[in-house]
């Protein structure tokens, strides 16, 4: 009888990719490996071209160094090297420099090839590692939640369109020919309206309108639309909010691709949070709104286990907060009469970025036209008071810093808001920079979009100030990623001696700050970090690859945060103990922090001219 190599089997079976493979793969690896002791003295005899091998580190630490002497990575327990030449057959480029002697497991080419052919996941692991695209592939496979899908994946392609000088009869004929229940009206390659079956019924037959009249009489002008690259969730939100059943889908150049209908979405799985938003938008009393709001925490808890991408949870919560706000504003107007002037309800910070958590507090404000009468002033003061109070009853706690529409400081005219921002931008004290980080993430929620747009245009003109950008860049660089020299984690410690990494403060926040800075400098209007990045890519503001890297990092870090919120004990929230990660995750995390650090430095170089 042979007792197995227990120590080897245990160690190998815990390593990626073996922790995802049959035990037979571990067994094969163990029975074919050679154990070597790699020291400063003998380092030259490993990782050379005479016989390429796969190396897995058991102890010690080793630097991979490029031929030009540049450090590629410092490797330690659980990390592999040597696989690129096994995969490609190319010569080995990098050299090994031993920092601490240690035990390394070595697998020869033919054994590697056996595993590679036997186990697809094994091959994939190394191919991915080799392609150095660990981060982006990590969650790609996981994005299988239906509401996270791109609209282009669920819609029927093929837009049916006609021009506005067509008659109503021609319109009806064309719809019937194509068997569609709605049609897009296009003028100069622009979408100008939508006509649905219901319009033909309500606006033509019921009113006995002459079918020879122009379709422009009955179409819904300036219709809502959505882009093919948006998520299904966004489409649902839009349809529920505006009570529409047909949503034109456009490509990046506003060319129509097709119509998304509520039936298309019904075919997808139903989602409770989305229905909740629908109910909130229809609530007729404050009591109803509150009752629905009480369902939020439980509902999200059930939902959070199903979604893989935490950014969706943030979006959902922000969507729900938006819905509550809108409905409360509506109900206030029911009681106190319609608003005397146009107004915009805006939100800041995490709600604006759509990164809300159950613990986020209110950050909102009212944007009003200049030169209001005292009576109008007090109307909006009462609205702010009412909405903020009811939101807090609904579970969205009041802002300790009083950034709320109920405060006179945040219920201001356009020029007063601009003066406020201008003060921060022109004299960027540390407190002003802090304010900017909150207030420059802003988003329109309810009221007059025109008013908001004219404000945001003036705001983005005003904020284009090099000194302001420089001080933001400097501020970003005061926060550092938890990676020490040679790619090792720098851990923080709780009073109870738990060691941890703060993923939010030392990762996500830095990325948010960097992306905000670029967005401001390019006049990008979105507040959500991922959307800002996408718009920056479109504006060709930065190197595309760098922006995608940042996006990957942001998602990876928020992903890990979600896990840390679910299953950590004794650690502050948003923190993880890196010991609990697999070797692949550790590697990815290091990579992510490394990329964040690079982006920080790039921002400093660009905006602060490296003067740190």
């Amino acid at each position: 009888m042979t007792i197995e190599q227990k120590e080897l089997l245990r160690f190998i079976s815990e390593q990626a990719p073996f922790n995802q493979l049959d035990f037979a793969a571990t067994d094969y690896f163990v029975s074919h490996l050679q154990v070597v002791y790699v020291s400063k003295e003998n380092q030259h005899q490993w990782l050379n071209n005479q016989a390429p091998n796969l190396y897995l580190i058991r102890s010690g630490s080793f630097d991979l160094v490029e031929p030009n002497g540049e450090l590629v990575a410092r490797l330690s327990e659980g990390e592999y090297f040597g696989y690129p030449s096994l995969l490609t057959g190319d010569d080995i480029q990098n050299q090994l420099q031993v920092q601490t002697d240690g035990i390394v497991y070595l697998l020869e080419q033919d054994a590697f090839d056996f595993l590679r052919h036997q186990y697809k996941a094994f091959e994939q692991y190394f191919v991915r590692a080799h392609a150095n695209r660990l981060l982006s592939t990590h969650y790609k496979n996981k994005a299988d939640n239906w509401s996270e899908r791109r609209i282009s994946e669920v819609m029927n392609k093929g837009a049916v369109t006609l021009s506005p000088d067509a008659s109503i009869r021609q319109t009806a004929k064309k719809m019937s020919q194509h068997g569609v229940s709605s049609i897009m009206v296009m003028e100069h390659e622009r979408l100008v309206g939508v006509v649905t079956d219901r319009d033909l019924r309500n606006r033509v037959l019921a009113t006995e309108l002459d079918p020879r009249e122009s379709v422009s009489l009955i179409m819904s002008a300036k219709p809502k639309y959505i882009f093919e690259n948006n998520r299904v969730f966004s489409a649902l939100h839009l349809m529920l909010r505006h009570n529409i059943h047909h949503l034109p889908v456009l490509d990046e150049n506003h060319k129509p691709l097709g119509m998304l209908t509520s039936t298309d979405l019904l075919r997808q799985q139903k989602s409770d949070p989305v229905q909740l938003i629908g109910r909130i938008y229809k609530a007729t009393t404050v009591a109803d709104v509150k009752r629905y709001a009480m369902e939020i925490p439980e509902l999200l808890q059930g939902f959070s286990h199903k979604v893989e991408d935490i950014s969706l949870i943030g979006k959902l919560l922000s969507g729900i907060t938006d819905a509550l706000t809108s409905r409360l504003i509506y109900l206030f107007q029911e009681d106190h009469g319609a608003a005397p002037t146009p107004f915009s309800w805006i939100c800041f910070g995490s709600q604006a970025r759509e990164e809300q958590t159950l613990h986020s507090d209110q950050d909102n404000g009212l944007l009003l036209p200049d030169e209001l009468t005292a009576a109008q002033q007090s109307y909006f003061a009462a609205m702010g008071e009412f909405v903020c109070e009811q939101l807090s009853v609904c579970g969205i706690v009041k802002c300790p810093g009083n950034i709320m529409a109920s405060s006179p400081e945040c219920c201001l005219s356009i020029s007063a808001w601009l003066a406020k921002f201008s003060h921060w931008v022109s004299s960027p004290s540390p407190q002003a920079v802090l304010n900017c980080k909150i207030f420059f993430d802003l988003r329109f929620v309810e009221g007059s979009n025109e008013l908001y747009k004219s404000f945001s245009l003036k705001l983005s003109e005003m904020s284009k100030n090099q000194i302001f950008f420089a001080s933001m860049a400097t501020d970003i660089n005061t926060n550092s990623v938890p990676i020490g020299l040679f790619n090792q984690f720098k851990l923080e410690q709780t009073p109870h001696k738990y060691k941890y990494l703060d993923l939010k403060k030392r990762g996500v926040v830095i990325i948010n700050d960097i992306v905000r800075l670029y967005a401001l400098s390019k006049g990008v209007k979105a507040a959500n970090t991922v959307e800002r990045i996408d718009l920056l890519v479109k504006a060709q503001a930065n190197n595309k690859r760098d922006l995608y890297d940042l996006k990957d990092c942001w998602r990876f870090l928020t992903q890990l945060r979600l896990r840390s919120q679910i299953n950590q004990e004794g650690l502050p929230s948003n923190c993880i103990n890196p010991e609990t990660l697999t070797s692949l995750e550790k590697h990815q995390l290091k990579e992510a922090f490394f990329l964040v650090k690079q982006a920080q430095q790039a921002a400093a170089f660009k905006f602060a001219r490296g003067s740190l």
């Binding site: 009888m1 042979t2 190599q5 120590e7 490996l33 050679q34 005899q45 102890s59």
Partner: protein, 210 residues
């Protein structure tokens, strides 16, 4: 010292050649025994494992491990090496293991952690089954460590030379299981670490290790 001299003088010309060669070029067989006690006259071999080192590589796939099916009295073995009477049922007669081991003795330099004790048991066992064995070259990781620590002028305590303590000195990973096979691997790793440290990677004549 006297023992070493006596052993060296008794070696055949072939073995003398082996002793002259660079320690990195020699082929080693690392052997570990689990015993019921420390007295070769009363105690027995419970299990026996070995694995080869060539060219500074430990070939795990060529390791062997045998449990002696005919242990008379297990004593503390279940506690120390996890081998109980149930495990013995999966064992083989010791003679089978010895028959496999004997031809290897001529091909390899043997490595033990505490060679004196293990070799005494092995020699007895071979004798018991009338299997004559020739003189062999042997290396002892415990002795190497003892010598290294003495040269550094360190005081050596009772537990400083056990396998785990020696490994810790080279920052080798801590192993939780203890059976002949794991200990043979642990000894082999320790030996590679020692060779690198004491020869600064250049290697020395094998005789200096013996």
């Amino acid at each position: 010292m006297f023992n070493t001299l006596k052993r060296l003088l008794g070696f055949s010309p072939e073995l003398q050649d082996t002793l002259q060669q660079n320690c990195f070029r020699a082929k080693y067989l690392v052997i570990d025994l689990e015993l019921t006690g420390l007295n070769p006259k009363q105690d027995e071999i419970v299990s026996l494992a070995w694995l080869p080192i060539e060219d500074q590589r430990i070939f795990v796939g060529q390791s062997e491990h045998f449990i002696n099916a005919h242990v008379n009295e297990l004593k503390q073995s279940p506690i120390f090496h996890g081998i109980d009477s149930h495990a013995l049922e999966g064992g083989v007669p010791l003679v089978l293991a010895l028959q496999q081991l004997r031809p290897l003795l001529d091909k390899y330099v043997l490595v033990f952690h505490n060679a004196e004790l293990d070799w005494l048991f092995l020699k007895n066992a071979f004798g018991q089954f009338n299997m004559p064995i020739a003189a062999t070259v042997m290396v002892d990781t415990m002795k190497i460590e003892h010598k290294r620590l003495s040269l550094q002028g360190q005081e050596i305590g009772f537990d400083d030379l056990n396998l785990a303590a020696c490994r810790a000195r080279y920052s080798l990973p801590e192993y939780l299981t203890h059976n002949a096979l794991t200990d043979a691997l642990a000894t082999a790793e320790l030996f590679l670490a020692q060779l690198n440290k004491i020869t600064s990677g250049k290697g020395i004549a094998l005789r200096q290790l013996v």
